[in-house]
Amino acid sequence: MEKKKKAVHLDGFNRFNRIKPATNAVFTVIFVLLAIMTFLPVLFVFIISISSEASIAQHGYSFFPAELSLESYAYLWQSKSYIGRSFLNSVGITIVGTMIGLCLTSTLGYVLSRPNYYMKGLYTWLLIIPMLFSGGLVASYMVNTQIYHLKNTYWAMILPGACSTFYVIVMRTFFQTTVPDSIIESGKIDGASQLRIFTQLVLPISLPVIATIGLFLTFNYWNAWYSAMLYIDSNHRDLYPLQYVLISIEKNISFMARNEDFLTEESMRNLPTETMRMAIVMVVVIPIACSYPFFQRYFVGGLTIGAVKG
């Protein structure tokens, strides 16, 4: 009751109905700890990547290295025929994949959002069934390699992940709820084709959802390694994306560790050093870590659109 009297002096409901300062302090501490916990590994790997080889050999990985050096990044720059190539591969796959993915998902989403479309029911089923049932890894691997001959091509890393039921549903829901029917009608009355209505009337006012799905796709392609692991042989190193370079380095090291005959000085010298590997990790992580805070709201927006069912 006392509290309620006080409320008169406070401005607004939210100031009144809130947790006690002590609880707030505890919650704040918890969240700050969680935030630190998520960032700590990134920071740690970054520090390792700028430590000198000698200090790592002596003290192991440490948050406070005895000596700092940018050697690893200099080495990366020197080996740009390999690392640089795979960096460009990653960038290329990401850009092309996102473009193709956006085309596929937005057109299908638009078509499904048209209430009077003749085959709407059939398309909806066509879209839902793959979500429930799939042929499995072996089947898609065999089909992709034996029928479409995607093995050891860039397309193997682009096409299979270009579209997904979830993205199409997010697109469709957005078009249904946000694009007014009157705009589409007006386009029809002016005699515009559906392609024109879609590209010139619908797309320009649908930038939020395009951005959301575009970002989903971008991050997915940038982070993809499984397709490379399945479809790219070790004889095609020039096709490796960065993520797979990291895997293949690790593989080589464990291979050599198992077969000690290969552990010659020569082979050791060719292997990327520890700091170098961590530097490659940073090359992968830094673009993500620097960009996602700005795009975050699109993700949250996309998730909430996707959560609306129907």
């Binding site: 003290h59 499995g136 065999m142 084709s193 690790e250 992968v284």
Partner: protein, 325 residues
């Protein structure tokens, strides 16, 4: 041509509900053609690959893949499944797959919901924003990158954890060779990667709740605790149910990256890290055993589908408003 057609047909049908296949429908069909071709090529064509599970696939040189699969390979009925269930590893594989998934499911619902409710209560908007952004980061990192993070901590001779242990006078732990730590580690690592994302999903729903509900509750004298149980959680229920149903549908599939990459495919850990997906991958890529791996994949798919439908029915029975379809 097109213009003529539109002016003849285009006027009236806009208002009338059309039943015939109109020019408009044709245009829409053409517009969606690439996506439909993609769906058929990458989702439907591989579905026929389930015949692998019932065949003894032998590649016949010079005859091509389709001929080898459909014509020259022998039908073996359920033999592949029988062999599979007789293999000594299979019980272990199932235990791992289901065990981890049940734990992930329990943590994946309770922890993010609790944290989402907590973070919306913070007094400072800015602290909430910054922390939300921070915990969202792992969602954008791949398992490959995370495996390097883990290695930085757990590496036997250079890792931070072992440095601390030896610094305190203890014995080094061979992390990548000792299976007893990994069930906990895997649960921890998976939670670390996923809780931020789920938290943000629930948070978005909570911030969308109508404030007047809370206002009237406060006027009735409800405490924060009562508001949470009486308003927030019931309104979160549809989202929780959808996440729950989807996770139940995936209970036979695991994140390959977590179990294969993060554990560095270490053979000594296989007892606690081999799940169905790891088994399928290894059977396919390392021992070229197409039939077993596709039998497993078929089982995963069928069980998953059935479970999804059951979970949906159960959720709907409890709460008719929730459910996915």
């Amino acid at each position: 041509m097109r213009k003529d057609n539109l002016s003849v047909k285009g006027g009236a049908p806009i208002i009338r509900r059309r039943k015939r296949f109109s020019w408009d429908d044709l245009e829409l069909t053409l517009l969606s053609l690439p996506s439909i071709v993609w769906l058929i090529a990458f989702c439907y064509v591989p579905m026929f690959g389930i015949v692998f599970a019932f065949k003894n696939y032998k590649y016949k040189p010079g005859k091509g893949f389709l001929y080898s699969l459909f014509v020259s390979s022998k039908w073996v009925g359920m033999k592949n499944f029988e062999f599979l269930f007789r293999s000594p590893d299979i019980a272990n594989i199932f235990r791992n797959t289901l065990g981890y998934n049940v734990v992930f499911l329990l943590i994946g619902v309770t922890l993010p919901v609790t944290l989402a409710i907590m973070i919306t209560q913070l007094h400072s908007r800015r602290v909430a924003k910054v922390c939300q952004t921070a915990v969202f980061l792992p969602h954008f990192l791949s398992w490959v990158v995370i495996s390097y993070f883990v290695f930085a901590f757990l590496s036997t001779d250079k890792g931070l954890v072992n440095s601390i242990i030896t610094g305190l006078g203890g014995e080094r732990i061979l992390w990548y060779q000792d299976p007893k730590y990994w069930p906990y580690l895997l649960v921890f690592i998976n939670t670390w990667k996923t809780f931020g994302y789920s938290m943000v999903v629930y948070m978005a729903t909570i911030t969308g709740i109508d404030q007047t509900l809370y206002e009237s509750a406060v006027i009735d004298g409800a405490s924060k605790w009562q508001q949470t149980w009486g308003i927030t959680i019931p309104l979160l229920r549809p989202v929780i149910s959808i996440m729950f149903i989807m996770n139940v549908g995936h209970i036979f599939s695991t994140d390959f990256g977590l179990f294969f990459q993060v554990t560095r495919d270490s053979n000594s850990l296989i007892n606690v890290t081999q799940t169905l997906d790891v088994y399928v991958y290894k059977a396919l890529m390392q021992s070229n055993n197409y039939n077993y791996s596709s039998a497993v994949a078929l089982m995963q798919s069928v069980f998953g589908c059935v479970l999804l439908i059951i979970a949906n029915a159960v959720v709907k029975k409890i709460d008719p408003e929730s459910g996915m379809f």
